[in-house]
């Protein structure tokens, strides 16, 4: 059986409130001035796969696969075209990069021998259960809690719209705090005791390393918001089935380096202050590697590695001040970013030095105007709450979030929202193909096939289970509308500029930079 008819990707109409149904065409995205519009037309819908899934669902997976001849897949991929357009707006300083990614229409041809006819089985009536894990306490908590709040909003919206294929969703929260063995214990509990359909969340890189293999061992879908390191990608999970990971750690600094070269072309000396763990070390290394491609004379004059659980940087800041570097690089991303900026501002560090705080936007609402000067390069990871303009989902979400939690949302909300959205789309897609409720493995297979609207626009997973996203970074600015800083100009760096393509090592990738 051969199917090659491209069909527009389907988003269930009933299952979502109004705003989510709005799809932005490429033209609309451009016209509304959205910084990124992944107007993706993932075509490729495969009717024959249904038979394959149908066969699987009637018997245990392993037995079934023995009776089925594996389908031959032919994937034709057109060359990607990436167009970047720089539009100058009225203010010279306010530069905006708008870029469009024309994603190729994928044609997937699947030939398959059908061994059974799919039987339409009714959807189970009990709710879909999600385990949501994040830090309830400690210095990582602000980001985690924002993500968990976003999960609540998503769940409420979905349930209002009737659930996923009619099944209500239910969130079960677990604390990520504690040693790795306790975290693994919580993961195991959610899987074998609470029997959740997927585990979504997790913030710390050490969690990521531990959960990746565990998810495969327990055959549990795990979508991580934030817990990914280079080592984690290369070593622990070469070919994951159930584990889905966030973007590389050092992407923040890759984007930061590109924009540093652009905003601060004259800097010569850099001093780094990063947490003394792999996240911090990877970031400084990546930052310097990329920055040197633009500006080979740049020199790293000081590296400071305060302990991650630290809350006082007085000594470090004194050292930075005494070092008199042109630029300070830091990947502080949670409560300690606030503390660092405040303490540094107190002794006038930012008067003498520029700064690239590549992840400080993770706690943007705490960076108050009275201690955060204008002109710092601030990174907001995958999402900045004022962008993309004119994207109705973002507006609706920000309003809802402020109403509920009396604070402004940060990037982790986008990762969380995307993770849930992707899961929902994957279930719907698999169901459509199979004709009955899909297994975890079948859902996992579809997760890389869907592109869904999230807070920052359309997002998807790469075939190696890594999130694709743009990063938003910009210079801090004081606005009368907010008591904290906003970013202006703000620039979004596209996914392919953030991390190496699948299978390529980071350092080989850096060499490809012109």
């Amino acid at each position: 059986m051969e199917i090659g008819k491209p069909k527009p990707k389907k988003i269930s109409k009933e299952a979502f409130p109004e705003i989510l149904k709005e799809r932005m065409s490429r033209r609309e995205a451009l016209s509304t001035g959205a910084k990124i519009g992944i107007a993706a037309a993932i075509a490729a819908i495969v009717a024959g796969v249904g038979g394959y899934f149908g066969g699987v669902s009637t018997a245990p997976t392993r037995v079934a696969t023995q009776t089925i001849t594996q389908p031959a897949q032919t994937i034709t991929q057109e060359a990607q075209t990436i167009t970047q357009t720089v539009i100058k707006t009225e203010t010279l300083a306010a530069q905006t990069v708008t870029q469009t990614i024309t994603q190729p229409a994928q044609t997937i041809t699947v030939t398959q021998i059908i061994t059974g006819t799919p039987a339409k089985v009714p959807v189970p009536s009990e709710p879909l259960r999600f385990g949501v894990m994040g830090f309830q306490t400690g210095s990582f908590a602000p980001a985690s809690i924002a993500g968990m709040n976003a999960a609540r909003i998503w769940a409420d919206w979905v349930n209002q719209a009737g659930g996923i294929l009619g099944r209500k969703v239910e969130l079960i929260f677990e604390d990520e705090t504690g040693p790795v063995d306790v975290r693994k214990e919580r993961f195991t509990k959610l899987t074998v005791e609470k029997k959740v359909d997927a585990i979504i969340g997790t913030t710390a890189t050490s969690t990521g390393l531990a959960f990746g293999p565990l998810a495969e061992q327990l055959q549990q879908i795990w979508i991580s918001w934030d817990a990914t390191t280079q080592q984690g990608l290369e070593e622990t999970l070469p070919n994951p089935t159930y584990a889905f990971k966030s973007i590389n750690n050092e992407a923040e600094s890759v984007a930061g380096a590109v924009l540093t070269a652009r905003f601060f072309p004259d800097i010569r000396t850099v001093a780094g202050i990063n947490d003394d763990y792999s996240y911090g070390r990877n970031n400084l290394e990546a930052f310097m590697a990329i920055l040197k491609r633009f500006n080979p004379k740049v020199e790293l004059v000081k590296e400071l590695w305060p302990k991650p659980e630290g809350t006082d940087y007085t000594s470090e800041i004194a050292t930075l001040k005494a070092t008199k570097a042109d630029l300070i690089h830091s990947s502080f991303w949670s409560g300690h970013a606030t503390i660092f900026i405040r303490q540094a501002n107190a002794v006038g560090l930012f008067k003498d030095s520029k700064a690239a705080l590549v992840t400080a936007g993770g706690v943007l609402p705490t960076l108050k105007k009275d201690f955060t000067p204008e002109g710092l390069l601030i990174g907001c990871n995958s999402w900045y709450f004022l962008e993309p303009r004119g994207w109705p989902l973002r507006e609706a979400f920000v309003n809802e979030y402020v109403k509920r939690y009396n604070e402004f949302p940060v990037y982790e909300c986008d990762h969380a929202f995307f993770s849930f959205q992707a899961y929902k789309a994957a279930v719907e897609r698999a169901y459509e193909i199979k004709g009955s409720w899909p297994t975890k493995e079948e859902i996992a297979k579809q997760l890389t096939q869907v592109t869904v609207p999230s807070l920052s626009g359309y997002r998807s997973f790469r075939e190696d289970h890594v999130m694709l996203t743009s990063f938003w970074q910009g210079l801090s600015k004081h606005s009368p509308d907010y008591d904290f800083i906003i970013l202006d100009p703000v620039i979004s760096v596209p996914p392919e500029k953030l991390q190496p393509p699948p299978g390529m090592k980071f350092h080989d990738w850096v060499k490809t930079w012109a």
Binding site: Q136, S139, P142, V301, K307, D312, T314, E316, A318, T319
Partner: protein, 298 residues
């Protein structure tokens, strides 16, 4: 290794002394309780954290009421002092029951309190870092050798020294202070002389509490209040009292200066050693002079 220019040295010395002032207040709180009650009071870290959170709440409240930001320091001190009620509450409510138990149990009882306070803070203030509207540059800047410092740093340093002198005066010269010293020396004898040990315990624990909450309140214009800051403070204060010698107030002053300055200079000269150096000093002191620099013979 960068050269130590005069301006560099100034920066390092000043920040070192500033850190020392805060460390001193916290460790003085540990010392006075250990000196009188013989309990190593881990809770002092929690008092530090609570002082910071309450300080923020206080100052934001007063600023909203329309008070001038110039009185900021006063509000902070007020916030620190207002928490003194925690002293008698905990002393009577918890410690009272563990005086007769082994040292290990006393230590663990205060550890239990630390756990409770940690989550109480989360319950009340949430897990986002809390920030006050009281900017550190309210009192202006001080320029010296082509570098500048907030005047607030000096106010904190002066406050810490003032408190050190007041404590010294209180313990050495006043009636209550003399009673405290006699209890520290010999409880039974003091009781025989009509000193109410109970009251002295309450007094000393309250002083210990207020020292912690004051330190927390004073630090907030400089930083944000975050979860875990209490535990961080305990570890440092611990190191200081071990170096100082348990119970010695002057030792605490000396050791705070050593730790604060050393941290500043080590961070500049050998940044990789920063996390190590405190523990190495602690081990070295315990090996060479286990009673600390100014501790009494055990």
């Amino acid at each position: 290794m960068a050269l130590l220019e005069p301006s560099t040295i100034t920066i390092l010395v000043l920040t070192g002394i500033f850190s020392s002032s805060i460390i001193f207040l916290i460790s003085a709180g540990l010392q006075i309780v250990f000196g009188i009650q013989r309990i190593l009071n881990l809770t002092v870290g929690s008092f530090y954290a609570i002082g910071a959170y309450v300080g923020i709440t206080f100052i934001n409240f007063f600023l909203k009421m329309g008070f001038s930001v110039v009185y900021g320091l006063l509000f902070l001190i007020l916030a620190g002092l207002s928490l003194s009620f925690l002293g008698p509450t905990i002393e009577r409510g918890v410690l009272n029951f563990v005086y007769k138990k082994e040292e290990a149990f006393q230590l663990l009882a205060t550890f239990g309190l630390v756990l409770i306070f940690e989550d109480m803070i989360k319950l009340i203030w949430g897990s986002y870092p809390q920030i006050s509207d009281f900017g550190i540059l309210t009192y202006g800047e001080f320029r010296f050798l082509d570098t500048s410092f907030p005047v607030y740093y000096f106010l904190v340093i002066i406050s810490a020294f003032l408190i050190a002198f007041l404590l010294e005066f209180f313990i050495k010269k006043t009636r209550q202070g003399k009673k405290m010293r006699s209890v520290a020396d010999d409880i039974e004898m003091s009781e025989g002389l009509g000193v109410k040990v109970r009251n002295i315990y309450i007094l000393s624990f309250t002083i210990g509490t207020v020292l912690g909450t004051l330190a927390g309140a004073l630090i907030i214009p400089v930083t944000a209040a975050v979860l875990g800051m209490g535990i961080e403070a305990i570890v440092l204060a611990f190191a200081v009292v071990v170096i100082a010698g348990l119970g010695s107030m002057r030792g605490a002053l000396l050791a705070s200066l050593i730790v604060g300055l050393l941290q500043a200079f080590i961070t500049f000269i050998f940044p990789e050693l920063t996390t190590f150096v405190i523990y190495l000093i602690v081990i070295a002191v315990l090996l060479i002079k286990p009673t600390g620099l100014m501790g009494k013979e055990i």
